[in-house]
């Protein structure tokens, strides 16, 4: 049996692995089969990760984090978790290959998944003009007219990046102002190829085998119009990836995994959560890495107590019982659930 299994391989998962490995916990990292490295694998320049004054490419940063974790003895598995049993002293993690791993503790760092528009044509035209990844697919839209849906940092980053290829990039946003950071907004505003379509929702994606346009509706007066396009990039946010722990761990009203105060301790003793899956607010590579650190230190503490007493379940259970009623206050005081 392992001491700790880490599920996820973004900044939270790999940072947790670095700390856990340096603490001689020999962590097993279930990194997923095709999404190793997480969301940063789909970004280009990362300019806000401290220590890289000239910026670093997202995939390179993740490769470095993985190497750093492996250097200290973390074992990385390229497989997906299909089932979890988190109750009790022995946690079991079942993988896509059929292998089952056991551990005394689990760090859950599965991040978040792209949010979909929820429109009928979206699935059918996915990969046929509808995309969630500008860096993957932008190349194929040279001299085409395309649109980005969204108003956050990732929408601005995608729109700006896509002007390298496309002749015209519309940014469709349902409000009249952006929630993107100032620097990203200014870059997009200064770009001649980008045109903003404010107060507007995409209500249908048009096209049979390929995107030919979108149907737009004004959020002000409800009027509709068609906009001819060859590509639609969706950047309307992310949802925490919690499907593996539904009914097993408590969630917050925002849908993230609930944790005790500023710790990473979930509602299940020995199970810790870190990164975007606990953070509905900040969602940065750096905050995720910090959150991974917290989880590794919490797991280390838990395992040390386990070794010392042999009966940590009881102590842990009492702690939960006393903390449970104050959850609402915890959140009210900090403004946000602990990240």
């Amino acid at each position: 049996m392992r001491q700790v299994i880490i599920i996820g391989s973004g900044p939270a998962g790999f940072t947790a692995a670095i700390y856990a490995a340096r603490a001689n916990l020999e962590p097993l990292v279930v990194a997923s089969s095709v999404e190793v490295g997480g969301e940063l694998m789909n970004t280009t320049d990362v300019e806000n990760f401290p220590g890289f004054p000239d910026g670093i490419q997202g995939p390179e940063l993740m490769e470095k984090m993985q190497k750093q974790a492996e250097r200290f003895g973390a074992e990385v598995l390229y497989d997906d978790v299909v089932e979890l049993d988190l109750a009790g002293a022995v946690k079991t993690v079942k993988l896509g290959s059929g292998a089952v791993h056991e551990a005394s503790s689990v760090i859950f760092a599965t991040g978040s998944a792209y949010r979909k528009l929820g429109l009928p044509g979206e699935e059918r035209l996915s990969g046929r003009g509808v995309s969630w990844c500008a860096t993957c697919d932008g190349f194929f839209f040279r001299e085409r007219t395309i649109a980005v849906v969204g108003g956050g940092d990732s929408a601005m980053e995608e729109a700006t990046f896509l002007t390298r290829f496309a002749s015209k990039v519309y940014v469709i946003h349902r409000k009249d102002s952006l929630r993107a950071s100032k620097i990203m907004q200014e870059r997009a505003f200064a770009n001649e190829k980008i045109e903003f379509v404010w107060n507007t929702q995409v209500v249908d994606i048009l096209g049979e085998d390929a995107v030919t346009g979108v149907l737009l509706r004004s959020t002000v007066d409800g009027s509709t119009r068609e906009l001819p396009l060859e590509g639609l990039f969706v950047a309307i946010g992310n949802d925490p990836r919690t499907h593996l722990v539904h009914g097993k761990l408590e969630l917050t009203p925002e849908g993230t995994i609930w944790v005790h105060g500023r710790s990473s301790r979930t509602s299940e003793p020995g199970v810790f959560a870190a990164g975007d899956v606990v953070d509905p607010t900040y969602r940065q590579a750096v905050t995720a890495a910090g959150s991974g650190t917290v989880a590794a230190l919490d797991a280390e503490h838990f395992l040390a107590a386990l070794e010392q007493s042999g009966e940590p379940q009881v102590a842990e259970a009492i702690e939960i019982a006393t903390e449970t009623p104050s959850r609402a206050t915890d959140q009210a005081e900090t403004g946000v659930p602990a990240a």
Partner: protein, 107 residues
């Protein structure tokens, strides 16, 4: 046996004139998900050397073919049989999911 590369120059004989089914992986160096799929396709080729031929086509170096087959998202995997596209798989997937998509050829 791992997947070999094909190009616009060899496309006709490698893919269109090939005898059995040929899976072409449209990829590029800058595509993170492509890097995840590449070793999976190598494994599928190694597991099934007689059933399917797996080839890789770099879309940066062969944009004519990417355009001809209307690639707008990679990784894109297309199975050609007797010169026709029979199956299209878009996006990185785990090995078992790709094997499911290719079940008709791997049986």
């Amino acid at each position: 046996m791992t997947a070999k590369a094909t190009t616009s120059a060899t496309w006709e004989q490698d893919v269109l004139q090939a005898e059995g089914p040929v899976l072409v992986d449209f990829w590029a160096a800058w595509c993170g998900p492509c890097r995840m799929v590449a070793p999976i396709l190598d494994e599928i080729q190694a597991d099934n050397p007689d059933k399917i031929t797996v080839l890789k086509l770099n879309v940066d170096e062969n944009p004519d073919l990417a355009m001809k087959y209307q690639i707008t998202s990679i990784p894109a995997m297309k199975v050609f049989n007797k010169g026709q596209v029979q199956t299209t798989i878009i996006g990185a997937k785990p090995k078992y999911a790709i094997e499911q998509d290719l079940a008709a050829y791997l049986a």
